[in-house]
Subunit: 535 residues, 2 copies
């Protein structure tokens, strides 16, 4: 344990007072070509972060640097990487970065009598072996047919991240190391209509189900497993053996790990939070099956490279740290309660839903890591849709509403796929990026219109942009890690535990009570009647 | 024109001061079985609205009634229905309710020399005739094959509403009047990767494209049309005639209306805002093709029935009015800047995205209908995901974050589809609803935990619930109209124009400038370089 680390609430630091005294930079007046030029920080691979349209100047950045230093962000990151118990509430290590490689060279992490780096590597090689065999046809379905579709059954972290990443790679090709794609579907909700939709038109003989639950006891996931088994039984397909069509991703102590009704189990552990599990077997099995292990390996490499650049302690040289610290300024000094994530890539259309979980479940806390109530704001509400779609929807409020919503854009210099054509003098991808550029400037600079005040734009709407050459598996991994590490750094600033989720427990307990007949709780009974009694 | 109507800002009313003096009701202390029992308002069909877990008491409701009366909400609704120019900025009538029927008996609406009720009815009968012929196989593709898939090409209101409604009916069956389903896909984003995904695996000979653009000039939609035409040309399919595979939904004055490259055009007009257009031909053509005209007719009937019940002026007897007015209390008295929409139905998974547009584009305004700047807050940020998925994601922040997020639940007494089974003593649908009930009580009542403050829940998190028997086409129409009318009423309270969207214009202008080479705007140039220059 690193005894030099101090865990103080943000408002107990010296830097806090200094920061709270800072006035926001006027972007409308101050945005300039040279500011844009000088506000880019290179991250992993081709990824860079540009903060020119965020309301910060050198004075604010100095104050943010002081706060980052005083809260020992890099020291705490290194402690996490070294295997300290950073999830203090649950007394657990936090090891998701280790699933993609060792960030601190020579540092090995022991837990439960196992060297965890070796443990994750072993699972990786098992995933490679298994996915290779399924994709080559060596492992077939129970009736002898090749597997062409995989269905991931999981909820929360076992669904949102893997699903967003899987969707995000749909148009990669041979140049990306993907010679063949399997179909992918995802089943998450306990609503039986979700299963009915996902099972529609499925060729059961050619389908492999991946059951994902760390504890092996997730109510929704087990209910969906049972529904899938029922559909298999009712299918009337001769010789269909459901056990040959189901693998599990779980912890090695869970009931699923030794379940005889599955073909194979892959392991993660209690040191990987659900929302941080995309680079563990939780995302690895499905992505390796669908796109091939090499693609997943590139994604891990991109995330790892990003984990490495995040070690830099100078805010001005570390894009993630900059993003995190300006986020604190927006939240705690300027008081903005939300942040919009706006990817200009249709491939990333479920990334906002993943980041919503990642950020809101990690940092939506009102007590510090010791359980004491905080007197400042923590994590904001995250929402978003891809551009240009959002432009024709909620951007109206972003431009002209009564509140200011900070925005985080994501853009790429090239499309992922090959299809494009010129229409009206430009390609679709050129139009896409022209819109992104236009929005950043429109939000920053606004437009006066004294004659028609309903056509006036105040400007000074803060935005940043993450840019990469193309949405490759590597870039996708880097973007994922950027946000994971941003959330981690902000949690350190706020002195909260970003790695537990006690807020989900009460609902689970009460739902069980409802299913057991409400046990005399009149409110539960009345609401239950409302949901059962026909009018 | 109804000269008895006065258009005053909310803070100029007498009721406003009274409302601002109201203290919120303590739901944690005050929720009781009798309160739940007495807080249901019946709406259209089986739909009802329950507000027991919202922080209001009789004093507040009286103040809200006074404000609704003073702002003449029902009078303004009737003026709108009667064809007054309610979209004052664009000098247009607002007629989306008329697309589903006449709410005020005997009132006909003339515009452009046409009786608009008859106009929409005529389009309906044309949609019926055309969709019947396609579904029966009388109208075939150009190579003589039956149409099995329809692809809607549109963005914003031409996409979000129709898409959400189409997805929401996927499991209806013969008992709902649906004897056959065509496949549906939606193409919206100018990102060429969207087109590449949507075109993947498409059988062009069996596909009908629906090009939806009121103006006929929407950049994204025309670019996607050109991409689709390119794919058709490149397909090498003999005798494939693209004109036979494309219909349009547009205004009858648009260039598309007379375009020779389309098979047929269906019309809406300038009195139907994009985000309100789901019940016009914009939603009607695709829904009638996919599910049959009878299903679309039921949806219209459900929306119409809801439009009728919204005429009631007593807040306590009008669920939509109650929902709208309590929303004003949450926004302007309690200051909550967002509202989460949480449907406990996987079928409704894109409804939050539609409501995000509907609400934020309508009411994200900072000037009143005369263009004067307002000194109070208007529309909130809307976001959401289906339960139970959200429970394993951002509900952590909703339960234990530092801010309070009002929630709007939606639930159904039955599943839409047939698939379900008992697992661990209950069906999946019972589990779904048990979770909904549990969440409402957990958010309202919280839970103390003095030993483990990180496991304590403050409670008093406001929520309401819309409940219907089952997600039928009729119920779906009612739910759609509930939200449309809620947004309209809130716009009347705030004295804004909920029917224009000037905030989307600046981005369009600047995007054109970027495509034209930035015209010397240094900021546009620098950001463009960032998006084009490879590292």
């Amino acid at each position: 344990m690193d005894c030099s680390l101090k865990y103080n609430d943000m408002d107990k630091t010296k830097a806090y007072g200094r920061l709270m005294g800072c006035k926001p930079f006027d972007v409308r007046k101050g945005l300039s070509p040279s500011r844009i030029e000088n506000s880019t920080i290179e991250e992993a691979g081709s990824l860079s972060f540009n903060y020119a349209s965020l309301p910060v100047d050198d004075e604010i950045l100095d104050a943010l640097q002081a706060l980052a230093d005083e809260q020992q962000l890099i020291g705490k990151y290194k402690a996490l990487l070294s295997g300290e118990i950073m999830n203090v509430g649950e007394k657990r290590l936090v090891l998701h970065q280790l699933t993609r490689g060792r960030v601190l060279e020579g540092v090995s992490v022991m837990a439960d009598g196992v060297e965890k780096g070796a443990f994750y590597e072993k699972e990786l090689s098992r995933i490679k072996e298994f996915s290779d065999k399924v994709r080559s046809g060596e492992i077939k379905g129970s009736t002898g047919k090749e597997i062409t579709t995989v269905v991931q059954i999981g909820i929360g972290g076992s669904d949102l991240g893997p699903r967003a990443l899987c969707y995000a790679l749909n148009l990669i090709g041979e140049a990306d190391g993907c010679t063949k794609k399997l179909n992918a579907r995802f089943l998450s909700n306990v609503d039986p209509d979700d299963a009915a939709n996902v099972m529609e038109g499925l060729d059961l003989e050619r389908t492999l189900f991946i059951l994902v639950s760390k504890s092996g006891t997730t109510q929704e996931t087990l209910a969906n497993r049972d529904l899938v088994f029922k559909v298999m039984r009712d299918s009337g397909i001769a010789n269909l053996v459901s056990e040959k069509h189901v693998v599990a991703v779980t912890s090695n102590t869970s009931p699923l790990a030794s379940d005889s009704s599955i073909l194979e189990a892959f392991y993660m552990d209690d040191y990987i939070g659900g929302r941080y599990s995309s680079t563990s077997a939780v995302g690895g099995v499905v992505l390796s099956l669908v796109y091939g292990f090499d693609v997943f390996r590139q994604l891990l490499d991109g995330a790892h490279a990003e984990d490495v650049v995040a070690l830099e302690s100078n805010v001005r040289k570390n894009g993630v740290l900059m993003d995190a610290m300006i986020g604190v300024f927006l939240r705690n000094v300027l008081g903005y309660p939300y942040s919009a994530v706006l990817p200009y890539s249709q491939e990333l259309y479920r990334i906002p839903a993943h980041l919503q979980q990642l950020d809101m479940e990690s940092n939506g806390k009102h007590v510090n890591r010791n359980g004491e109530r905080l007197s400042y704001k923590t994590g904001p509400v995250i929402f978003g849709e891809p551009g240009t779609n959002g432009q024709h929807s909620f951007y109206q409020l972003l431009h002209q509403g009564t509140d200011i919503v900070p925005m985080q854009f994501i853009g790429f210099r090239e499309a992922q796929g090959d299809l494009d054509s010129v229409s009206g003098g430009s390609t679709s991808h050129e139009k896409l990026n022209a819109n992104l550029v236009a929005q950043m400037v429109a939000f920053a600079c606004g437009k006066d219109d004294e004659e028609n005040p309903n056509k006036a734009f105040d400007g000074n709407r803060p935005s940043s942009v993450l840019v990469a050459d193309r949405l490759t598996p590597f870039a996708l991994g880097s973007i994922l890690a950027h946000f994971e590490n941003k959330v981690m750094f902000q949690g350190f600033v706020w002195n909260i535990n970003s790695f537990d989720q006690e807020g989900v427990q009460l609902g689970k307990i009460l739902a069980k009570k409802v299913l057991a007949g409400c046990e005399g709780d009149g409110n539960l009974e009345k609401y239950s009647q409302l949901l059962t009694k026909k009018v």
